[in-house]
């Protein structure tokens, strides 16, 4: 028996009929057609499938598609806006935070949630915050650097925005 599921993915509304057992990650990849979210294990260890569900990092292999009913989902494809990379994407590029790239979308999504919760994490906090994701290529050295660099950039951007709004307030 199929169930109706309505979701918003990267700001676009989707309605499908799916099997109740369909995993959210397979829904995103095979039904919605967004293949940037990857699968790297059978047991929810690797974090390659991490997305944001209502802004919170979730391994999308741990949810059924039907559980996403009415939720706002953000995948890696939703991070770049108007042709501009998200600061985390830019930082992973600048700091060589990826090699084969397979785990990268999961890391970027997990890091996005981390920085949302803690905009200025220490190195230890970054390592703690991303312990649900595995990478076999980078030794994590440049992943840590990427997140640090993104945090700086986002903080700087925020500072600029608040300066600007302060300036607007004065005028």
């Amino acid at each position: 028996m199929k169930h109706k599921v309505a979701t918003t993915v990267n700001g676009h509304k989707h309605e499908h009929e799916v099997e109740p057992r369909l995993l959210l990650v397979h829904y995103l990849r095979d039904v919605v057609g967004l293949t940037g979210t990857h699968i790297g294990c059978d047991t929810s260890q690797c974090g390659s499938c991490t997305i944001l569900v209502d802004g919170k990092a979730v391994k999308s292999c741990t949810m059924f598609a039907v559980q996403a009913e009415g939720r706002q989902l953000t995948t890696i494809e939703g991070m770049a806006k108007d042709g501009e990379l998200h600061p985390l994407q830019q930082a992973f590029w600048d700091e060589h935070g990826l090699q084969c790239g397979y785990c990268t979308p999961g890391f970027i999504m997990a890091a996005a949630y981390l920085l949302d919760q803690n905009p200025n994490p220490t190195e230890d906090e970054i390592r703690k915050g991303l312990e649900g994701n595995l990478c076999r290529c980078t030794g994590y050295v440049n992943i840590v650097k990427s997140v640090q660099s993104a945090a700086k950039a986002m903080d700087g951007a925020k500072a600029k925005t608040s300066e600007r709004s302060a300036a607007v307030g004065r005028s």
Binding site: I76, E77, C100, E131, G139
Partner: protein, 791 residues
């Protein structure tokens, strides 16, 4: 005009934008109209007679398209999987492997049946319904026991379990031991590990029935190999098969051979007339993708009291699994050939015995034999130092090879090296002298700091055909390239390697841009598709740059040579009077009148060329290197071990590596980072464990098998020395495996150094808290017992 030199520059990778935005294209990201999903029914026993396979229920499952067993595949697949059996001259036996078992299953996870269904969930359901009746046979897990007289055999009817037994001898061992003032013996275990690329294997095969054309997309390091062997296995001409390795999510050696599933998916497409997709699950990946390492080394070392190394005797048993890996023998050879390390010895004798067991094959895993060699020789040096109470850095210094090219005691010619320089640099960075003092002070407080050195050399750039052909079944491991300059000056470079994370699209373009004097942005690298790249041997053994990259450089030189003739014609000068400098041709002495490479490219396709010259501007090269390349370096690991818990805390890790000239320092550093992490993983965490009775995999998921997480790898301090390779004109050596080759010995030497006050002389891998705690407890009981005995 300022011309930027690309080689040596930190260029951000051009492959990244698509990968960081979710637009990569891995095999599972592709769908074809009419595609079905394949699931593989695997043996639930490590060794059993297959009495029957009942397909009744499976054939009626919802969405099922077909169910196939060996009988069906025999109609379309002839022969077995390839094995480079002749790598070892004294081979005893090479079991033939058909891609799917028919009457006897010889390892846990061996394919027994294949189902095709309309969806991946239906395929998984359907596979569950296939009923296999087994009759259990004796299971060989312990490969030392498998050598005992009267042992059951891994394959019914085999004479014994010995696949090969071969010697690698250099020097007079007896004399060298006679001259020795001390000897030490140790058993060193190289546990079986899983390579674990984050993307498991994946195949999509599309056979076009009446056109007799087959396209196979596969997550592979070696698309041309796969095509070569599929054409043999399927009895199709190579011209009818196209193999494409798209974005590949890591490999680490585990994707450099054809696998049963590539044959099965292609054959299933041929049998069903539908495109067939097979995506490996992680559990399958651990069962049925090649494993790494898996050896026991018994070593005996002889030295003088002053630390001069003299004699090394090695017996190496290798746990090959049920079938010899496609390159299984290569790892044994490399482990033996590199066992002298970067030292002068009077004699090294090695005996390598390959043993068949009821497990998945072992095959190359990052380093393939070289981490094993480095680990054993670096442990050997430390054992000598500990025995003689000498500083391990001094023992190394005393024995380093110094004059290059250096011929090792096993006859290998190391092209260039400066071993002392890299060790000195590493010692300086880590603050070696102060650390030794700190170690002594901490010991007084009951704290156990350990400093581990690993001064490795490796053999890369596989390889010169003269050295490899007789051991690779007549494969000349050359590498190919085609460089085609288009009329408007953009360039397509097609090469036979395939990047799976190494950034070839960037570094190869850097090489071509400099060689052709054209902007980097003009250069496009094509890899991974047999449809538009020349036959190549692929990416492994740190060979892509020193063989593939050099091939590109040579093709570029050929293009420049032709362009020079055209430019001379345009400048109305003699060829020999024309100079090519940073993309500009001009007559010697008159640099003002010049022709840019772009202009010459356009002219190359036009009329009015020099007499007898054909249009076009392209060249092909098959580069057969004159020697291997020999990267080296010094790693120092500093650990603190808590004797109460056995926990290891890596406090510092310094790596000074020398891979010759560097194309892109950012990518080189990244390779070292990842390599070191994998070496640390093997040293501390990883072990593939089989049930000793049943041969079932106990570490069958990433829950049970621990690869290092982000909290477990410290920040690595990297530095380098640069000693160009004289083996090729780029002076490059390769860097893909260096970190892994060096790291496990550095970590284990540090742990042993930390625990030496307990009288501990050796620690096996993985040095888990459990193992160390037991070893410390035992050592303490031993020394207490000794004290009591003296009372």
């Amino acid at each position: 005009m300022a011309v930027t030199t690309m080689v040596g520059a930190k260029i951000h990778r051009r492959e990244d934008p698509k990968l960081i935005t979710g637009h990569g294209s891995y095999v599972d990201d592709m769908q074809l109209i009419g595609m079905v999903h394949m699931a593989v029914v695997r043996s639930a026993q490590a060794h059993a007679k297959i009495v029957s396979v009942d397909l009744t229920a499976a054939s009626k499952a919802p969405g099922v398209v077909a169910v196939y067993t060996a009988r069906d595949f025999k109609k379309v697949i002839s022969g077995g999987l390839p094995v480079t059996e002749s790598l070892i001259a004294d081979k005893k036996q090479t079991p033939n492997q058909f891609p799917i078992a028919e009457s006897e299953a010889v390892y846990f996870g061996e394919p027994i049946a294949v189902v095709l269904a309309e969806s991946r969930y239906q395929a998984a359901d359907c596979a569950e319904l296939v009923q296999v009746e087994y009759e259990s046979l004796p299971v060989l897990v312990d490969f030392e026991k498998a050598l005992e007289k009267g042992s059951p055999t891994a394959h019914t009817g085999a004479p014994d379990n010995v696949a090969w037994d071969v010697n690698f001898n250099g020097g007079d061992l007896e004399a060298a031991f006679k001259e020795s003032e001390v000897t030490v013996k140790e058993r060193i275990i190289q546990q079986r590990v899983f390579p674990i690329s984050m993307e498991p294997r994946a195949v999509l095969a599309n056979y076009v029935p009446f056109g007799n054309q087959l396209t196979v997309w596969t997550s592979s390091q070696v698309p041309h190999f796969i095509r070569l062997f599929l054409c043999i296995g399927l009895g199709m001409p190579e011209s009818q098969i196209r193999v494409v390795a798209p974005d590949v999510g890591g490999g680490f050696g585990s994707k450099l051979r054809p696998y049963p599933e590539e044959y099965l998916a292609a054959a299933a497409s041929k049998l069903s007339g539908r495109p067939v997709k097979w995506i490996e699950g992680r559990t399958e990946n651990l069962q049925a993708t090649s494993h790494g390492r898996g050896h026991i080394f018994d070593i005996e070392v002889g030295a003088k009291r002053d630390g001069t190394l003299l004699a090394l005797k090695i017996t190496m048993l290798s746990d090959l699994g049920a079938y010899i890996g496609v390159f299984g023998a290569l790892q044994s050879s490399l482990a033996m050939l590199l066992s002298p390390g970067c030292y002068k010895w009077k004699a090294v004798h090695g005996r390598a015995i390959g043993v068949l067991t009821n497990k998945m094959s072992t095959d190359p895993y990052r380093g393939a034999g070289r981490p094993e060699a480095a680990h054993l020789v670096e442990r050997a040096v430390d054992l000598v130092a500990q025995e003689l109470k000498l500083d391990p850095a001094d023992v190394r210094a005393k024995n380093f090879a110094e004059d290059f090219p250096f011929t090792s005691i096993l006859g290998m010619v190391y092209d260039s090296g400066e071993y002392q320089k890299s060790l000195d640099k590493a010692k300086e960075i880590v603050g070696y002298k102060a650390l030794r003092q700190k170690q002594a002070d901490l010991r007084k407080q009951g704290k156990y700091l350990g400093i581990g050195l690993s001064t490795y050399v490796e053999i890369c750039g596989v390889g010169p055909s003269a050295a490899t052909a007789h051991v690779s079944g007549s494969l000349a491991l050359v590498e190919s390239s085609v460089v085609r300059v288009h009329p408007t000056g953009s360039v397509t470079v097609a090469v036979g390697t395939h990047s799976h994370g190494q950034g070839h699209a960037t570094t190869f373009a850097q090489i071509a841009a400099d060689a052709l004097g054209l902007p980097y942005a003009n250069i496009e690298i094509r890899e991974g598709d047999t449809g538009d790249t020349p036959f190549g041997y692929g990416s492994y053994g740190s060979r892509s740059l020193p063989v593939g990259g050099v091939s590109i450089n040579r093709s570029c030189q050929k293009v420049v040579d032709k362009a020079k003739k055209i430019a001379a014609h345009m400048l109305e000068a003699a060829d020999e009077d024309v100079v090519f400098d940073q993309g500009q041709f001009y007559v010697k002495g008159s640099p003002d009148k010049r022709k840019a490479m772009g202009e010459v490219a356009f002219a190359a396709y036009g009329p009015g060329l020099p007499e007898g010259m054909e249009q076009g501007l392209e060249a092909v090269t098959y580069f057969d290197p004159p020697n291997f390349t020999w990267p080296f370096g010094a790693h120092i690991c500093v650990v603190e071990v808590d004797p109460e818990t056995g926990e290891v805390d890596i406090q510092k890790y310094v790596a000074v590596d020398d891979c010759g000239n560097i194309i892109n320092p950012m990518i080189v550093d990244g390779q070292i980072h990842g390599g070191v992490a994998q070496g640390i993983g093997q040293a501390l965490f990883e072990e593939a464990v089989h049930d000793p009775e049943t041969g079932a995999l106990r570490t069958g998921t990433l829950l049970d098998y621990s690869i290092p997480g982000i909290g477990e790898i410290p920040n690595l301090q990297l530095d380098r020395t640069i000693t160009p390779s004289p083996t090729n004109e780029l002076g490059v050596k390769g860097v893909g495996e260096a970190g892994t080759i060096a790291a496990s010995a550095a970590v284990i030497n540090a742990i042993v150094d930390a625990l030496s006050p307990f009288g501990i002389k050796h620690v096996d891998m993985p040095a888990s808290p459990d193992r160390l705690w037991k070893q410390i407890k035992q050592a303490r009981e031993h020394s207490n017992g000794g004290k009591e005995a003296r009372k």
